[in-house]
């Protein structure tokens, strides 16, 4: 934990020294979308806030955006073979912004609002409210400068903090249903991020990995650490007035076991692999994107939970 804080402090330190902000005028960013999904939605980790960070845009521009995300799950309400399966729908509306601080450092912030429901046997339960706000900084470690090379490369590393602004309600985790029916983890969590982009002309591959350290919350509940990875191919069609970027790839999530009073909670670990595809279109200062994720393989909560699909739509405005 200390290492993360130190590293993060360094990043912040860097940025504090360089205020000569250069506002890029690039029309809009594509690669944000490529990065969004894997950071986003947590099946087990409940920070369903995690959020579309878009920290890895290859164009250093500023923007604010609005995004709607829908996640559908089916969970077993009970511990028996004949326990009923119930539907869970997680809706998230989020505002996010990205600010380049220097040529190499960018800061992202994400503010989610959740509207979640689950159709328990005893009746439908709803929760809604502000989720966990995430602030992150990303540092460009390496970037191919010349356009003449066959491939261009870019490597970004970063870290951040997820602030427990979303309400964690202990009672929602009673019983043996999905332990992620919450607005937030209730804990201070710390993501570490890495991103690698390789491009040849208009075709590119974006690879991201991130690890989220989660801490114990005030109710002595601790969500398991989470590892996300994704690889996304994208292609830029530049039609002068309009730009269109189709993209497709794979995204996976691994969850460690949750703990309560430092004791492992059974059936809370899991993993899932998604196929993802989407398209983004941009014109002038606006861009609009649609994205979907469908599970290929999953083992969540020891088979007591299934992700059905996720989709999102977003609108961004370049500042």
């Amino acid at each position: 934990m200390k290492k993360i804080i130190v590293m993060f402090a360094l990043l912040v330190g860097f940025s504090a020294f360089s205020f000569n902000v250069k506002d890029s005028i690039s029309a809009f960013t594509f690669q944000r979308l490529a990065m969004m999904e894997d950071f986003d939605c947590d099946a087990c980790g409940c920070s369903a806030s995690g959020g579309s960070m878009g920290f890895g845009s290859m164009l250093n521009n500023n923007f604010v955006g609005l995004r709607y995300l829908k996640q559908s799950y089916t969970s077993r309400d009970g511990i028996f073979a004949n326990s009923p399966w119930i539907d869970e729908n997680f809706n998230t509306i989020q505002v996010w912004a990205r600010i380049p601080v220097t040529e190499k450092i960018q800061i992202s912030a994400l503010v989610p609002y959740h509207i979640n429901e689950r159709k328990l046997t005893a009746g439908t339960e709803d929760i809604s409210g502000l989720g966990d706000i995430t602030v992150m900084a990303l540092y460009t470690v390496f970037e191919t400068k010349k356009d003449s090379t066959f491939f261009t490369h870019k490597i970004n590393l970063g870290g951040g903090v997820k602030i427990p602004t979303g309400k964690f309600t202990e009672a929602n985790n009673l019983g043996s249903v999905n332990q992620s029916f919450q607005l937030g983890t209730g804990s201070w969590d710390f993501p570490l991020i890495s991103e690698y982009v390789i491009k040849h002309k208009n075709l590119g591959l974006n690879t991201t990995m991130n690890y989220i350290f989660k801490t114990e919350n005030s109710k002595n509940y601790q969500y398991g650490d989470q590892f996300n990875y994704a690889g996304t191919f994208f292609y830029l069609f530049d039609l002068k007035s309009v730009q269109i970027v189709p993209q497709a790839g794979l995204a996976g999530e691994l969850y460690q076991t949750n703990k309560q009073h430092n004791l492992d909670l059974p059936n809370t670990a899991g993993d899932i692999l998604f196929g993802k595809f989407g398209i983004e279109a941009g014109k002038d200062k606006f861009s609009i994107g649609i994205n979907a994720m469908l599970p290929i393989n999953q083992n969540l909560s020891n088979g007591n939970m299934e992700a059905n699909y996720r989709w999102s739509v977003n609108l961004n405005y370049t500042l």
Binding site: V21, F80, F190, T215, N220, H261, L263
Partner: protein, 267 residues
């Protein structure tokens, strides 16, 4: 632009300060007394038990529709991680589990010394020592058992387990009632004890009441280590009544193996 940046930095600074504080875990204070709940959740095999309507099949191809499951839980002993034990006071240590009522599913033990418990032991039935105290020594137990129809007569004693319903089988094609009642017989006392490890420590604290979620697989009563066919006990087609004889020790042995702890909630 700069404003936004300052705000972002401020948030980061604050979060580092707060995030690095160690949180106080309420489980660190191991003093005083608390409570613990033993939840008895009846199942048939891997399915939750549903009374009256759900057909349940035995390995002898008999189909049971179960209308009643009751048993007396007694003499609870909890073992801490360090090996020391806490014996729940005998006068409070009898509980009648009953699938048909909410009160019959959760046995709440109070005034339990705070500690990390790793094992639970309990009896099924009323121990012989208690019975030998005579009718005057039974306290509330006698009246409670009588109300629950878990008592025959003073001479015949308590029913330790009552398992009733109807069944059909390849040879008994119309639904026929069955009753399995265990208790003492002339030759066997038939009280049995069960010791179970907890998969997660139960943290009894003044602020934490752990709930030990036990699953009682009632299929084991006649279809456990010992297999007993109801059809063989259906004398004259009047229903299978197993309340004594050589089958009771076999059923008692089955009963001692029908419990497991699924999980523990430390809420």
């Amino acid at each position: 632009m700069k404003n936004t940046l300052y705000k972002a930095l401020a948030i980061v600074a604050i979060s580092i300060t707060l995030g690095s504080c160690s949180s106080d875990d309420s489980s660190n204070d191991v003093s005083g007394k608390g409570k613990i709940i033993l939840e008895f959740d009846n199942a048939y095999g891997t399915n939750d038990l549903i009374l009256n309507t759900q057909p349940n099949k035995t390995s002898n191809n008999e189909i049971l529709k179960i209308s009643m499951v009751k048993y007396i839980v007694s003499n609870v002993v909890l073992t801490k991680a360090d090996g020391t034990t806490f014996t729940y006071p005998k006068s409070k240590s009898y509980f009648i589990a009953d699938e048909a009522s909410a009160e019959g599913r959760e046995f709440e033990l109070s005034d339990v010394p705070a500690g990390d418990y790793v094992k639970v032991k309990f009896g099924i039935g009323v121990d012989e020592e208690q019975w030998k105290l005579g009718a005057s020594g039974q306290g509330d137990l006698l009246a409670q058992a009588d109300d629950a129809e878990m008592f025959w007569s003073w001479a015949a004693g308590y029913k330790f387990l009552a398992f009733e319903g109807t069944f059909t089988s390849p040879t008994v094609t119309t639904a026929t009632s069955f009753m399995v009642h265990t208790g003492k017989t002339g030759t066997d006392y038939n009280y049995t004890e069960v010791t179970l490890d907890l998969p997660t420590k139960a943290l009894v604290r003044t602020t934490i009441t752990p709930e030990v979620h036990l699953i009682t697989d009632v299929s084991k009563i006649i279809d456990g280590t010992n297999k007993i066919k109801l059809s063989d006990n259906n004398a004259g087609g009047m229903g299978a009544m197993i309340m004594g004889g050589a089958n009771l020790p076999l059923i008692t042995q089955n009963v001692s193996g029908m419990f497991r702890v699924d999980h523990v909630h430390n809420d």
